[in-house]
Amino acid sequence: MPQSQEFNFFEYHSQISRENILLSYKGPLTDVLLSEFSRDIRKKLLEDPGAGKKVFSIFMELAQNVLFYSKEVNHFGNHDKVGTLVILHDDPFYRVITGNLIYCEDVSRLMDKFETIKNLDREALREYKRALRNNPNEQESRGAGIGLVQAALTSDNQIECKIKELNDDFAFFFVLVKITKKNKSYPES
């Protein structure tokens, strides 16, 4: 195995200082943690209510997807799902980023979904969301689709995904959503 790069604490520290991180978490996720995060985000974004509400609702949809679908499981305790949640702000955007492991067999289905979303305008996205919401099969599979479509709608389609296959079984999947700030002076860096 190739030697991994030595961890540079100074670089890590200056990066997390520079990037204006509102939230950064990697580890097991629970409903309790999620509600604590959601309260914290709301408090931090009180000065920018218009965009803050969007950041909040997008974060909730994406974090719930991680909670339901992550294929990485903590073997201690309650077998909680493991994932990564990040919220950054740097003018003129907030950025909500979530990451989790998925099965390689689900990669093409997810890529297709994002390809579909990316090519739809607002009205077509609304139609697509209605079609997913009306589809009982989608409900049984708890298909993550409707949350992603809602995130696309809420962010004016500033959503993208990246997938990196790790081995034959698992891939790392992350979603990045940009939300345009309304109150540009907030939060103070």
């Binding site: 409903d31 509600s35 609702s57 609304r126 919401r133 409707i146 949350g147 809420t154």
Partner: protein, 131 residues
Amino acid sequence: MENLEIKGESGVYFIPEVKLNASSGVCEISGESYLEDTDEFYNQIINWLENFTQEVNKPLTFNFKLTYFNTSSSRSILNVLRVLKKYQEQGGQVTVNWYYPEDDDSIAEEAEDYMKDTGLQINMFEFEPED
């Protein structure tokens, strides 16, 4: 027939406030909706409405005053509206009022989408949430 009242609460989940009044026929759901078991929660409302349409069979007004709901709740709200539409088709007198927070286009848009999905007339009003 008994009223159904569920106290709203913001803890680990966000439970909306529910007041369904059998004698006045006025029903209201308000607050925020993000639940541990969304289907179970909304089935209480759906079951109450189905009983109301069979036992009471009077005019019914349903006021929605939600300030946040996740996509899972949005699916259940659609099911509530479908019950109201069915009651209307059977001759029931149904009024649906949808209050959306001022400056929140997304919750207003939801009502437009629900009208398309159910064929119900939904009256829309802007309101200022208390928080």
